[in-house]
Amino acid sequence: GIAAEEGDAGGAAKTGGTLTLAIDGTSAVNDPAFYTTLGDWMVVDCICRGLTFISYDTTEPTPDLAESWTMSDDGLVYTFKLRQGVTFHDGTTFSSADVVASFKRQFDEKDPTLPEGASRPFNSVGKNLKEMTAPDANTFVMTLLKPDRTLLGRLSDIGARIISKAALEKYGKDIGKNLVGTGPFKFASATSGQNVTLTAFDAFRLGKPPIDRLVLQQVTDPSTIVSSLLSGDVSATQFTPYSALSQLKSDKSVTVYDTPKSFDAFIMMDVRRIPELEVRQAINLAIDRQALIAQAFFGAAVLPDGYTIPSGQDAYDASLADLSKTDVAEAKRLIQAAGATGRTVRLMAASDSWHPKAAQIIAQNLTDIGLKVETDSVDPAAYFNRLLAPDDKFHDLMIWERNGYYPDADDMIGSLARPSGVYGDFISGFNTLDGSAAYADKLFEAKNIADTAARKARYSEIQREWAEKYMTLSMLVCAANPVVSGAKVKNMNWKALGSHRTYMENASV
């Protein structure tokens, strides 16, 4: 069935029971400094909380373990007042020492509590950090090298979660197998490739969650996800295959939520392979986005009218819709003008989820405007590596997606258009184009504009200019990770789950 309007769930939420979330995978290592799988990341989300919190009802960072904060006028010094009386799962009390210990292992690659191969995702903030201090138990100060208005948002990210210092000292490198935080659920057991079991934390700051147990169960086969939702073996998941949506909507035993369209689906063009702007523009104009929405996403996507910014975010600007319009006649004309008719372009896409379907539709679209298309469907694990290899034979057109790690324009266009980032460098070769260097500064400036409206305007300006002048990235759609749950599951924060955020403290089964 389809989710009813907000609020009707109300009533007396049932307590007790086990909620099972289907996840893509687990290595049974749950460590904010070590990204392994999305599933493990979701576990960290349940166990640990950070200084700030974004509920996904709004995109505004709100206080969590930090009760309040102040920013110096130059935007370089942030002083956090920490909440008192919060206890960790191991019984210790939260203080600034825990914050320092948790952050230090992200910033310092020599930290003894880091396991081998740790990726330290929060390290990018550390690069901009001059120093961090804890003047007293309830105060924590960060001094930046350059201003960064996205800091508060980033502090809500999973890499910035706070671990009990006592636990860090106790477990060292093995903290990932014994994670201790202040979140609503505490770690019980985990088996790699199978599941992670969490139990409700009685002393959670906002009250004991209604459910007793939360199990994150690895289910990799898409049809099994659907089946186990229908059979009740799984309570909820955001990894639902798109094609099953209409079937699930018509089934009373499950609830399908109208999850926010939070991620971008796009094709990247390598300008070193497709040097003519006209050809790139033609490719952009050729794409039948309605067909993609209907046939690859089964309705769980919308036209990318804000270009790279999804509609839920502050910087969303519907006036950019024309950057992603479809005009086959014009596309053909451009191809002819460039003398590219009959040219072979290669298109690669990962072999999972919506990618192969999209690749087939796009291949058709490009064939229709006179190009010859060769496609390659790539094992998902190998795909990212191939994106990073400009020598790859299929590096002309690449289908890819970007999830909002925290809901901010800087995480979208800020990453995509940055000439030195993976997108601008390895993937598209944007950094080889004239004028690309200026975008580093433009994006930095936009990021630090305090006024929301002005910031939005600036981002719109950058996006339009970037798209029209270079067109290295053609937006396909803005899509959702469709959340589906069993009909009995109530009060789950499904909007957050649509962005892989796992806030199950209010959910009941």
């Binding site: 290595s27 049974a28 070590f34 191969g117 790699s192 079991t197 169960q217 186990s228 790690y405």
Partner: protein
């Protein structure tokens, strides 16, 4: 001289053969691990880039990712030359250290300890089902040779032997799990049950820990994947059993048994079954391999926490130690089963026992 010769002869008898078989196991495993080692290094994609880009790939600059990847490579020992990697891999192997996962350092031995029992449960259950089914149908078909019973049994056997198991698993989930709701479709035990593995063989643990309530849900979870796996093998066994029983029925000693005035039931029991089980037993050993291969898909479809699942995840994540460990475990299992089969063969066929 004669005494010495005969002792030697006895030494070369049964135990000698057993020893010889067992001595070959490490060699096979060494060859295999080398093969897997090479195959893994040939796979495109490296764990370091995946790891380095993990989580927030886009926020980092290209240079950062490259640098990070190098560091991770060094930490994981992937920066060393291939021969170096190989020798340290072999060295570890000799000390029975299978290494640890690139993703978070789970020890491979531990992971195998978690998953191997599940796979053994699954494949053994499938084997039992298949053998039972296949033996009965095969014998009936052979005894009723050239009747409609034979023709139908053979046709069904051939069809079931040809069934693509990938489709079968999905179909059985839909029918029994979703439409009929008779059986659970994922996992090995319900998540509500608080199972603390000790040996990780549920049946054994149920006895050891005195938790009889584990058994029923365990069987429920086991049934679908095991039957899915078993079906195609059962068809195969039917064919082999039929052929083998027919062959033995044509043997001279069966005529002798008839000459003795034995009833056909007694002939079947005392003379045909044992002798026709010889080729079946050999085939079982090899078929166990295809069961293990099939378990890779079946375990994925049923989210069944076995080695097959572990292996696929390992391949997908380019987690070499996991792939190596899982492949080795599978090969070891397979090899040991085949050694067991050889020994069973030895027990069944006295002809082989003479040196």
């Amino acid at each position: 001289m004669t005494a010495a010769t005969s002792t030697l002869t006895r030494l070369r008898g049964t135990p000698w053969l057993v020893l010889k078989r067992l001595a070959a196991v490490p060699l096979v495993l060494l060859g295999l691990s080398t093969m897997v080692f090479i195959a893994m290094r040939l796979l495109p994609g490296s764990p370091a880039t995946s790891l380095a880009a993990g989580g927030t790939g886009g926020n980092q600059s290209a240079a950062e990712i490259t640098e990070n990847a190098e560091k991770i490579n060094a930490a994981l020992g992937l920066d060393k030359s291939l021969p170096d990697q190989y020798f340290s891999f072999l060295g570890d192997l000799f000390t029975l250290n299978l290494g640890s996962s690139f993703y978070g350092g789970n020890s491979i031995t531990g992971l195998l300890g978690d998953s191997l029992p599940a796979t053994i449960e699954l494949t053994v259950a499938a084997m039992l089902i298949a053998v039972l089914l296949g033996m009965v149908t095969g014998i009936v078909a052979a005894l009723r040779k050239d009747t409609w019973i034979d023709t139908t049994t053979r046709a069904i056997g051939t069809v079931s032997f040809s069934l693509p198991w990938f489709a079968l698993g999905v179909l059985s989930i839909v029918v029994f799990g979703v439409w009929l709701r008779w059986l659970p479709v994922i996992g090995r035990l319900p998540n509500e049950l608080d199972y603390q593995p000790f040996t990780n063989f549920v049946l054994l643990d149920a006895v050891l820990q005195d938790r009889p309530e584990l058994i029923l849900p365990w069987l429920e979870h086991l049934l679908l994947p095991a039957v899915t796996l078993a079906l195609s093998m059962a068809g195969f066994i039917t064919r082999i059993v039929r052929a083998s029983v027919l062959e033995v029925l044509g043997d001279d000693f069966v005529r002798t048994a008839r000459m003795k005035g034995l009833s056909s039931g007694a002939i079947l029991r005392r003379h045909v079954l044992r002798n026709s089980s010889l080729p079946i037993v050999t085939v079982l050993g090899l078929q166990f391999g295809s069961l293990l291969g099939g378990s890779v898909i079946t375990e994925t479809v049923f989210s069944y926490p076995g080695v097959g699942n572990l292996l696929v995840n390992g391949i997908l994540q380019r987690d070499y130690p996991i792939v190596q460990g899982a492949a080795l475990a599978i090969a070891l299992l397979f090899t040991l089963v085949n050694v067991a089969v050889d020994l069973l063969y030895l027990a069944l066929d006295p002809r082989l026992r003479k040196a």
